[in-house]
Subunit: 146 residues, 2 copies
Amino acid sequence: MAGMDEIDHRILAALVADARATYAEIGADVGLSAPAVKRRVDKLQDSGVIRGFTAVVDPEVLGWNIEAMIDVYCQGRISPAELRAAWLPIPEVVQASTVAGSADAVLRVRARSVPHLEETLERIREAAAIERTESTVVLSRLIERG
Amino acid sequence: MAGMDEIDHRILAALVADARATYAEIGADVGLSAPAVKRRVDKLQDSGVIRGFTAVVDPEVLGWNIEAMIDVYCQGRISPAELRAAWLPIPEVVQASTVAGSADAVLRVRARSVPHLEETLERIREAAAIERTESTVVLSRLIERG
DNA sequence: AGTGAAATGCAGACTGT
DNA sequence: ACAGTCTGCATTTCACT
């Protein structure tokens, strides 16, 4: 985005802290009226700085206890857009990135059980032209932020 | 949480999709009145299933353009708690997990530039008794959720 | 869990700087 | 261009059924 001043950054921080905060509350924090805050938030969304608003849910509570990282090796060249389209419908895929390393992409997957993880792996492999995958199971989550 | 029925799950899904959706909108989706939805959301928050609501911000725009995943190989046995304590003060570390694989831990790091990434790597290595690290730079973020 | 009413917050148009 | 005020309308929130 072109001009992002101090106030925009403070509005962003407020929304990251609580996405359901009212415009008036944010305005009180940053010293602006509610309509002024809304105008800025709208611009921030239109320009792509704010991608959206989500609820952060405790995965443990829902029984999605097991997590794994999957290195994916593709056959030939597949565009990032194709990979994204292939994996987006799989809800177990929490994170996907293309990387500059020996692997082509790295996924982060959450599942309820080992059989569930295995089934998810199968669906990931079927979704695109994939040569092989290498999975490493997460033992404990030390840090989670950003 | 004790009793989480189908409707609770659908409310969760709606809030994950858009944390600023109104209770009336969610109620229309799940077949409940707005006050009923609010009561369920409040309970979901009190019981810890919903940890909060945040805005998802494009990191590129804020200048934290480069991201890397770091496989860490430790010397001897280090407890997860020690690793956490060592890396928590480093703000560039966005995610850290111990894993069951050839590496002992995997970090996800965000930096403003390659020199900044290098400096962060140095600090990560100094923070604990580490044998060696293997970094892979992220080319593009395909999916980011959960 | 639904209903209805009061309080609150939102979104648009308008004005001033 | 950007902030403030006003206003009609939607939403939240409470008491009650």
